[in-house]
Symmetry: C2
Subunit: 233 residues, 2 copies
């Protein structure tokens, strides 16, 4: 016999993916049961399962108990993004990181902020505006609200030194996250602090986090013109 090494689940995944690209298994087709594929390829069923799991995650196939595995007819483009701490992001670009606190006030959160958290009741929160710089040039302007009843310690943090971004990441792990992207025209503060003409198109990254049911923070990060966010891979 040919003394080949054992199949790894990535081998199995690649084999099946190739067959899908091949049209051996065409869109909409039902694939053989995991067990049959295992027998055919000569590996354990769980190895096929692992491979399939990965293909399902990528959006190439769809699995249902009893229904079996099908090649998706409308493959979904699925992309994953890392949104690091801003300091880290700047430093990884090889730039010098800078930070400025713009304002810090305790006030009732407006309806739009309450809505992001899904809150009904008026709530007093810490409102922080800050600017992150790369090589002394504006990089990201952030407008953040922090629920100070959930994170009372934040009230004692010197935000002129340490950014709320960084403090929260290091001290307030979250259990739920909402992220969304959109574009907006610079105006007022965002234009001023990013040193760009009013009307410039800005990418906004809006993040809201909770710990269990409790709101932690919500932030709109306005990236300076030219900013791009690229997916992993």
């Amino acid at each position: 016999m040919t003394g080949q090494t054992r199949l790894s689940w990535t081998d199995v995944r690649d084999t099946i993916r190739t067959r899908i690209l091949n049209r051996t298994y065409a869109p909409g087709d039902k694939l053989p049961r995991d067990e049959d594929i295992a027998i055919e390829l000569g590996c354990a069923r769980i190895t096929v399962h692992r491979a399939m799991q990965d293909l399902a995650l990528t959006g190439l196939v769809e699995r249902k108990r009893k229904g079996g595995t099908h090649v998706r007819t409308d493959p979904v483009t699925r992309a994953t993004f890392d949104i690091p701490i801003t300091r880290r992001e700047v430093e990884q670009r090889g730039s010098k990181y800078g930070y400025q606190l713009i304002s810090r006030t305790l006030q009732d959160a407006p309806a739009s902020v309450l809505a992001r958290f899904g809150l009904q009741q008026p709530t007093r929160m810490l409102h922080v505006k800050a600017l992150h710089l790369a090589d002394n040039r504006p990089y990201i302007f952030e407008d953040r609200w922090i629920d100070s009843s959930v994170s009372p310690e934040i009230l004692d943090v010197d935000l002129t030194t340490e950014s709320a971004n960084e403090w929260l990441v290091h001290n307030k792990p979250y259990s739920r996250l909402d992220v969304r992207f959109y574009a907006i025209n610079a105006k007022g503060e965002s234009a001023q602090h990013l040193a760009t003409p009013a009307g410039s198109a800005l990418l906004v990254i809006e993040r809201t986090t909770w710990i269990e049911q409790d709101p932690i923070t919500t932030v709109q990060a306005y990236a300076a013109p030219g900013y791009q966010l690229a997916a992993l891979n």
Copy 2:
């Protein structure tokens, strides 16, 4: 004894995640070996492994062979986005989908397009501009280049009826994908076709795909003002 059911890997994941949020395992700490956790919780090592895998994917912990598992000091915010076929996206919003071909020409790809593919040689490509509508209102304007030597069949497709987006998704699976987001001010065609004043901020979703080493297509999708892209979960 209490007749509890067996631990699932999600239970184990949740237990460990709670401990991390608890600071039982603080940022930077080394976690016990998988096997010790398995013994402590009373499950198989592989079950702990599965849980850890998930936590590592989410960016909460970092694993290294021999080095063990550590709680990340700078947890990364990681978000996954689905970018469906535009027709599907519109229909899932409950709107009526519409499509218009704007132009279709065979021409040499400009340097910017070649750069996206990482190509050096001048290449003749099919250049397609099209508009997707939701309830008869402009939704996404797409500016697309297709390598017609890799996908010659596209030359015979009636793009006035079927969008290139859809045809490609159904007929040209890709093996590599690049996705990036940025914001841009509407001008010229993008403003005109999206029926928005020049200068409006637009979210651009740029996607480039390859099959193995061969370029398939690259597209800049300009979303109408107000468009938001939300992460899964």
